[in-house]
């Protein structure tokens, strides 16, 4: 497994030590998972949920629990002008 590449996809800045440790540990897990390939699953439908689940739709109107902008921002590490603040994305 190319742990550095995967860590980049997962947006985690792993240390070199973590990269080598995870490489060894996860190789062991993946080797164990190889056993799934023993099974003939042709014609078997994949299961995403244990029970059939359907989209639930409703009218696009606010319900009674109005969640204010102030409440939504209450845990924000940084905010400005009633919005979440992040580092500059474009120059």
């Amino acid at each position: 497994m190319d742990v550095t590449h995967i860590a980049n996809l997962a947006r985690i800045e792993l240390t070199d030590d973590e990269i080598s440790r995870f490489d060894a540990q996860l190789s062991q897990v993946l080797e164990y998972a190889e056993k799934l390939k023993e099974l003939d699953v042709s014609g078997i439908e994949p299961t995403a949920h244990a029970y059939p689940i359907f989209d639930v739709v409703r009218e696009d109107i606010a319900h009674d629990e109005n969640f204010s902008a102030a409440e939504a921002l209450s845990n924000a590490p940084a905010q400005a002008q009633n919005q979440f603040k992040v580092p500059k994305v474009m120059d």
């Binding site: 985690i12 540990q25 056993k35 949920h49 244990a50 029970y51 409440e71």
Partner: protein
């Protein structure tokens, strides 16, 4: 501590008030939790304020319930056992189960420790503190709901809520000697439960008795418009199953669950429990769940895949830890997540990202989803022959703190008897069924697992209660 039923009786007779109960708990927590380390936080003043206006006519009126620190309670912290959220997040809303608990009159009191984001089987992955098993403080309480189980065993709670993705209610309940019930997938709302693996997670009760589990399950079950996976299935009167006869019910014994790897003392304890069920009129039937050997691999692919997407929400934008050393937005994601997440969480995100990544999706994730179909089918076929399935919960009693910390694979393999129920979406309960003895003479609890058909939690309560009533294993550590 009194059970929910006993506490309610004391309230009715006027012997005790909800404020008395909260104060007694607070005193016990003060004296006990320094050693057990099962609570991440607790707000006695808030609980006393609620106790003062408790409506005792409600089914759980004035009953304090400890909450696993992964379920949002408005105005309280919710750390998920993670540095990412510790001291940096206060829940701005009540989870679906908390709204239902409040409607039933209960008081959420105390935030129970857990493996970080519910990833683990020992609570050692908590970034906040290490919880000790009250029966032997050199050992783990199980996990991931280890705090919820330990507070009951240590008399620091009347009852608790946990969450179960691969055994996280049943396994710590077994290792701490309390009752833990994982409802059928869809029975209980997941709204406000910080998601680990959305197709597997389910909140459930952890209690001193089966009757209490029925009461708590009653309160939290039922549809919630905020969770589209929470079904509209009718909720029966679970308490009506308490005291019912189990004569003639067929109990399946999966031969794969009594095979190699099972500790001989745990095996003989569980077998004695099955003999006891037989003496109560149950009919044991040997069955096979042929895909059992594939369950762990299937689980660790599906659960980590779902976790890797669910934990993408921890982006340091809306809540939680934000690195102070970031040069730009991408760098901020990368550094905040590196600094905020613990080792097991990072390991699982990496594995989950890998099995979903281009070129590996079919070989791992899709294959696992297909094997999941076969595992479900094993149970569907078994339940055509039997009403319930009985087995051990864990292959061994509680192990020593640190014993498996550096060997994730060894830790994963111990989940063998519990994870299939999550993959199949069925319900299960762990009921105390005896003890093993350590070399230094300490007693360690053993659990009996009963698995039921979808939405047949009533059968678990019926058989679990019949068994419990006929034995004397129900006790706490101190």
């Amino acid at each position: 501590m009194p059970t929910i039923t006993e506490l309610r009786a004391s309230y009715q007779s006027g012997d005790l008030s909800p404020s008395d109960a909260i104060r007694t708990l607070a005193d016990t927590i003060e004296s006990t939790d320094r050693e057990i380390q099962a609570y991440i936080s607790y707000d006695t003043d808030a609980a006393l304020a609620e106790a003062a206006k408790a409506d005792l006519s409600l089914p759980l009126g004035g009953v304090p319930v400890a909450i696993k620190d992964v379920i949002n309670v408005k105005g309280q912290p919710c750390t998920c056992g993670s540095k990412f959220l510790d001291g940096k997040y206060t829940a701005p809303y009540d989870a679906g189960v908390i709204k239902k608990l409040r409607a039933a009159g209960a008081i959420p009191y105390g935030r129970a420790n857990m493996d970080e984001f519910a990833m683990g089987s020992s609570t050692e992955n908590s970034a906040i503190q290490t919880t000790r098993n009250p029966w032997d403080t050199s050992r783990i309480p199980g996990g991931s709901s280890g705090g919820s189980a330990a507070v009951i065993a240590a008399n620091e709670a009347i009852a608790a809520l946990g969450s179960d993705t691969g055994g996280s209610i049943r396994q710590p309940a077994a290792l701490c000697g309390c009752v833990g019930l994982k409802p059928t997938y869809g029975r209980v709302s997941r709204y406000g439960l910080v998601a680990f693996a959305s197709s597997l997670d389910q909140i459930g009760p952890m209690t001193q008795t089966v009757e209490d589990a029925a009461l708590l399950l009653q309160a939290i079950s039922g549809h919630d418009a905020h969770d589209s996976t929470c079904v509209k299935e009718a909720v029966p009167d679970f308490n009506s199953f308490v005291g019912q006869d189990i004569k003639g019910i067929k109990i399946g014994l999966p031969k794969e669950y009594f095979a190699e790897g099972l500790d001989p003392e745990v095996k003989s304890t569980v077998e004695a429990a099955i003999t006891q069920l037989e003496s109560l009129g149950a009919e044991p039937v040997e069955i096979s769940l042929p895909h059992t050997e594939y369950a762990i691999a299937t689980y660790y692919i599906i659960a980590t895949a779902e976790a890797s997407t669910n934990l993408a929400r921890f982006d340091a934008v809306r809540y939680g830890h934000r690195s102070e050393n970031a040069a730009n937005l991408i760098d901020q994601y990368r550094r905040s997540r590196e600094e905020g997440f613990g080792e097991e969480v990072k390991r699982r995100i990496i594995l989950g990202t890998y099995v979903l990544s281009s070129g590996y999706y079919d070989a791992y994730y899709l294959q696992a989803q297909k094997v999941r179909t076969l595992i479900r089918k094993d149970f569907t076929e078994a339940f055509e022959k039997v009403d319930l399935i009985a087995s051990p919960v864990t292959p061994t009693p509680a192990f020593k703190i640190g014993e498996k910390s550096d060997d994730p694979m060894a830790m994963y393999l111990a989940d063998i008897y519990t994870i299939s129920a999550n993959l199949a979406g069925i319900c299960g309960i762990s009921v105390p069924c005896g003890f093993t003895r350590t070399d230094d003479g300490k007693q360690l609890p053993v659990g009996l697992q009963l698995l039921g058909k979808p939405f047949a939690e009533g059968d678990l309560i019926k058989a679990g209660h019949a068994y419990e009533k006929s034995t004397d294993w129900q006790k706490t550590a101190s």
